[in-house]
């Protein structure tokens, strides 16, 4: 088969299937194929909705021989679907990380994740002058578009035979028809499909969730609940229902759904598409538009970094984090080598002084990590720079720092951190890199510009739905209200921004929710989100009562945290059937742990319904995560590593491969079985600061709450054995020791 032709609708439906490499040889469809049919006319394979009765529809034509390379076909198909979505609906845009390039009607992107972005896949969105999409020619290197030969005859051939394909009954398929493609009721991220939107609203939502969904658009509303209480689902249902109401009332609205990571955006998109029976997500409504974006997508859309050949570096992806650690360590070493700076910082408070020495000798990685957290949570989040007014304020501030931040008791300590930060930023600038926080800072300034004021009426949103607000930094939170179109109420006063936010601070593995300064409210005045309505969710649907019980005991070990009204005891009330008790196993060393857990995860992945994507090994030690990543080739083809929040996990096509990641990178996803590894004493000894402890417990909490049925915690004796945070859970037997 040379050519594959589909309608956009068929392609979107197809992208919900779990597809393996074999499928690409003949594009067969299973019998129960979600209303799709497969027919062959000439050398073209058509996959069309069974209900299609007119050839005036749009058509996606794929030159399959020159597009699929037999190595990363499923990823390529997913990317084609995303490009298609970005063209035929406004619900998504092509992520910046795919390095899209556009000239006239031609587009190119990187066809699959991998080390080289120079590999390109090409699209023409006006083949033969029609609003179709022609996907053609995959090249190993970037190439001038003028050198490409457009296979327009493939498109005209597929177009010419479309009417015949529509009229041709479905080809009868043999027993091989299931080869390589499965439609699952459960989305790869864990969401179970089946119920319609109205069924969800009328009979499946709890009273609390319904109370949130019914909230009017007259001001900001917060939705707070522990992990697994259905925050994301409630937000999606509200966004869809509100869009449908607007459509029914013929009110023109543009709603935005903002997430923190590409993985979450993918999850929201998938849930929305499975619930959206009106085609809101496919631009079928002339009145209501719902766009799912990350904040970085929005920033890139408006500021167009790609035009300046700038590639923002995500500092919370694994690669970025490693680079950040190296740069901080290098700065600390440089400073230690300077006699002048040693004299300048001679009076540092003694713990900082000794940790500086230790970190320089490579013996205190945690200090480097804590400085990194200070950068992310305070300096970069608040736009504090050495030599600027905010920097002076930071240095001279006499107010008590929250206990969960790095302890910097004297002015010279804060001056020291600011100097490390200055050097680190200089190194970043010398590398010609723009960090994500710098990008968000520019975006925040752009939203204050006259240019945005004049386009805000059409480019802004009527309402915004924000998932995982706890992962947004202070500056990111400040941008939210500026994205809303300005409107005036009946009383002549400006309306309060309708922003619907879901969050759970305890799931924040960093201190980004923190507000530096005297006021510890998570919202600054400038965010315009103070005094928002609050809806609390208490019923837990994701995991078993046993896991809920364990989380209650884990919750009791959180150090107290001074954020008024936000830090409440865990109140999850599990609604699922009973399951096995969470287990704790201590291995004698790192290698034994690696082998035992990875082998078991592989076995479980083979045996679990839904495959490996339902099984995750989550590492709470950043150091060990990095080491194990190096060792992963031993499990080649059996593991999907997820190493950053900008990486859209291709879980749909995981097959029997299980997931290896950290809790942070899989926030928002859920699994049947979770192996939480390296919950060692060494990660957060009892004498470590509140901040280190809190972040570690949040990591464990976040990782554990990803498990729906089985949770297995492990630690390594060579790293101090199991952390003392499990003490209460062990005493109360909500966590049992496995010998």
């Amino acid at each position: 088969m040379n050519t594959l032709a589909l309608t956009p609708e068929a392609l979107f439906r197809l992208s919900q299937f779990s597809i393996s490499a074999e499928w690409f040889s003949s594009f067969l469809m299973p019998r129960d194929s979600a209303g799709l049919k497969r027919v062959e006319v000439g050398s073209v394979t058509y996959i069309l909705p069974k209900s299609l009765d007119s050839d005036s529809c749009d058509l996606v034509v794929i030159d399959s021989q020159n597009v699929f390379d037999g190595v990363s076909d499923t990823s390529t198909l997913d990317r084609i679907a995303t490009v298609c979505r970005s063209i035929y609906s406004e619900s998504v845009i092509v992520p910046t990380t795919w390095r899209p390039h556009r000239e006239g009607s031609l587009i190119s992107i990187t066809p699959a994740p991998g080390p080289s972005w120079r590999e390109r896949l090409h699209f023409d969105k006006r083949p033969n002058g029609r609003d179709d999409l022609l996907v053609f020619q995959r090249t190993g290197e970037t190439t001038n578009f003028s050198n490409l030969s457009l296979p327009l005859s493939l498109h005209s051939g597929a177009r010419a035979n479309l009417a015949e394909a529509i009229l041709t009954p479905e080809t009868e398929q043999g027993p091989t028809s299931l080869a390589g493609i499965v439609l699952s009721h459960r989305l790869p991220q864990g969401f179970v499909q089946g119920a319609t939107l109205s069924q969800w609203y009328s009979s499946k939502l709890t009273d609390e969730q319904r109370q949130f969904v019914d909230k009017p658009h007259d001001g900001p509303v917060r939705l707070r609940g522990s992990a697994g209480t259905g925050k994301t689902l409630s937000l999606v249902i509200k966004a869809l229902l509100d869009s449908m109401k607007a459509h029914a009332n013929k009110t023109n609205v543009r709603y935005g759904f903002l997430t923190h990571s590409s993985a979450s955006a993918d999850l929201v998109q998938s849930i929305s598409e499975s619930l959206d029976n009106m085609g809101i997500m496919f631009d079928q409504s002339p009145h209501a538009k719902l766009e799912v974006r990350t904040l970085y997508d929005l920033a890139d859309e408006q500021l167009n970094f790609s035009l300046d050949q700038l590639r923002p570096l995500s500092l919370d992806g694994q690669e970025g984090r490693k680079l950040q650690m190296e740069l901080i360590e290098y700065s600390l070493k440089q400073m230690q080598a300077s006699r002048t700076l040693r004299t300048q910082f001679k009076e540092l408070s003694s713990p900082i002084q000794s940790r500086w020495h230790a970190a320089t000798a490579g013996q205190d990685q945690r200090f480097v990590a804590e400085i990194m957290n200070e950068f992310a949570s305070v300096l970069d989040a608040e736009g504090i720079r050495a030599g600027e007014e905010k920097g002076l304020k930071y240095v001279s501030s006499s107010s008590m720092r929250p206990t969960w931040l790095l302890s910097l008791p004297s002015e010279i300590d804060r001056r020291f951190v600011l100097e490390v930060h200055r050097r680190y930023r200089k190194l970043l600038a010398e590398m010609g890199t723009l960090s994500v926080d710098q990008m968000v800072g520019d975006f925040n300034s752009f939203l204050d510009s006259n240019r945005w004021s004049s386009i805000r009426g059409r480019a802004g949103y009527d309402a915004i739905f924000v998932d995982e607000l706890h992962l947004f930094t202070s500056i990111e939170r400040q941008t939210l209200h500026k994205l809303i179109k300005k409107s005036v109420g009946d009383d002549g006063k400006p309306r309060r921004p309708p922003i619907f936010m879901a969050y759970d601070i305890k799931q924040s593995t960093r201190d980004t929710f923190a507000q530096f300064g005297e006021d510890s409210n998570i919202f600054t005045f400038s965010s315009q989100l103070r005094g928002s309505d609050l809806v609390k969710l208490s019923k837990v649907f994701r995991y078993t009562p046993e896991i809920a019980e364990f989380l209650v005991d884990l919750d009791a070990t959180f150090p107290a945290i001074d954020i008024p009204g936000e830090w409440e005891a865990y109140a999850g009330e599990a609604q699922l059937a009973r399951g096995p008790k969470p287990e704790l196993q201590v291995f004698k060393d790192d290698v034994t742990l690696f082998r035992a857990i990875f082998d078991e995860a592989r076995r479980v992945a083979m045996a679990t319904e839904g495959g490996g994507r339902r099984v995750a090994v989550l590492c709470v030690s950043p150091e060990m995560f990095e080491r194990y990543l190096v060792a992963l080739p031993q499990y080649d083809g059996k593991v999907i590593p997820i190493t950053g929040r900008d990486i859209t996990p291709e879980l749909r096509h995981a097959g029997r491969r299980f997931v290896f990641s950290t809790p942070e990178y899989v926030a928002g996803l859920q699994f049947d079985t979770v192996f939480l590894i390296h919950a060692n004493v060494e990660e957060a000894p009892s004498d470590a600061g509140d901040g280190v402890r809190r972040r570690f417990i949040s990591d464990v909490y976040l990782g554990s709450s990803r498990a729906e049925r089985t949770l297995k915690v492990s630690a390594s004796l060579s790293r101090g054995g199991a952390s003392d945070i499990f003490g209460l859970a062990l005493e109360r037997s909500s966590l049992i020791v496995k010998e």
């Binding site: 300077s338 006699r339 002048t340 700076l341 040693r342 004299t343 300048q344 001679k346 050495a386 030599g387 001056r415 100097e419």
Partner: protein
């Protein structure tokens, strides 16, 4: 200063615009073109001296400069003396130099220069020495006028590196003429003085030279250095 030829002006051969060179008062000239680099060089020399006194490598000049910019000079000097083996006889001078650097770092322009002068035991001698040096080093492309009749103050500098222009219709023979006829919305000019013929010719010559200079390649100038070295070694040999 209008630089079109008198005959061109008389016959209106100026394409509607007059070409002119800016004239700065000596004070403004120092402020705009001299004091910044002077203070920077003072700053660097002092930093270098302080590092030398402390036995620290010159590569750390930026670290020390940044420290001085952000902290109390007395405390910095004391810390340096406490941490490094600075000879006792240099302590007072080190304090002074750190203080001088701190003043330079915290002030700008001639005001900064004035503050630096005040640190010298004889401020007037210090100021004279450097201002005279500045005048002496005024260089190609500049011309010093001691006075312009009818203008306040003494000392003006004609700077020839930039040629500006103004619409001829907005230029007037006298200030009163300009006040009576110039539109508010446009930049206008009026003649306030005229150069004597000697000055006219001198400036015309310098101006022509400024825009007709041709630089030589570096290799050529390097060769001339070799010629000097050659004679030097010859002379040194003769001494023996």
């Amino acid at each position: 200063m209008v630089i079109n030829a008198d005959c061109d002006l008389a016959h209106g051969k100026v394409d509607g615009v007059l070409a002119l060179l800016p004239i700065f008062s000596f004070h403004s000239y120092l402020e705009a073109f001299w004091v910044k680099s002077h203070l920077l060089s003072e700053f660097s020399q002092n930093i270098e001296w302080i590092l030398g006194a402390c036995g620290i490598e010159k590569a750390e000049a930026e670290d020390l400069a940044r420290w001085i910019e952000s902290d109390n000079p007395m405390a910095i000097a004391s810390s340096l003396i406490g941490a490094h083996a600075v000879p006792t006889k240099k302590h007072a001078e080190l304090h002074q130099r750190v203080n001088k650097c701190a003043i330079i770092a915290s002030s700008q322009g001639l005001e900064g220069f004035k503050r630096v002068c005040s640190l010298d035991p004889d401020p007037s001698r210090y100021a004279r020495k450097h201002i005279e040096a500045a005048k002496g080093a005024i260089g190609d492309g500049h011309f010093f006028l001691s006075e312009i009749s009818g203008q306040e103050g003494l000392g003006f500098v004609v700077r020839m590196r930039r040629i500006l222009s103004i619409e001829a219709t907005n230029c007037y023979r006298s200030v009163s003429d300009m006040r009576a006829h110039a539109p508010d919305t446009k930049t206008s000019a009026a003649r306030v003085a005229r150069l004597t013929p000697t000055y006219q010719h001198r400036i015309a010559q310098l101006f022509a030279y400024q825009f007709s200079r041709i630089g030589l390649p570096d290799e050529t100038t390097e060769l001339s250095k070799l010629a000097v070295d050659d004679i030097v070694s010859l002379m040194a040999g003769a001494q023996k």
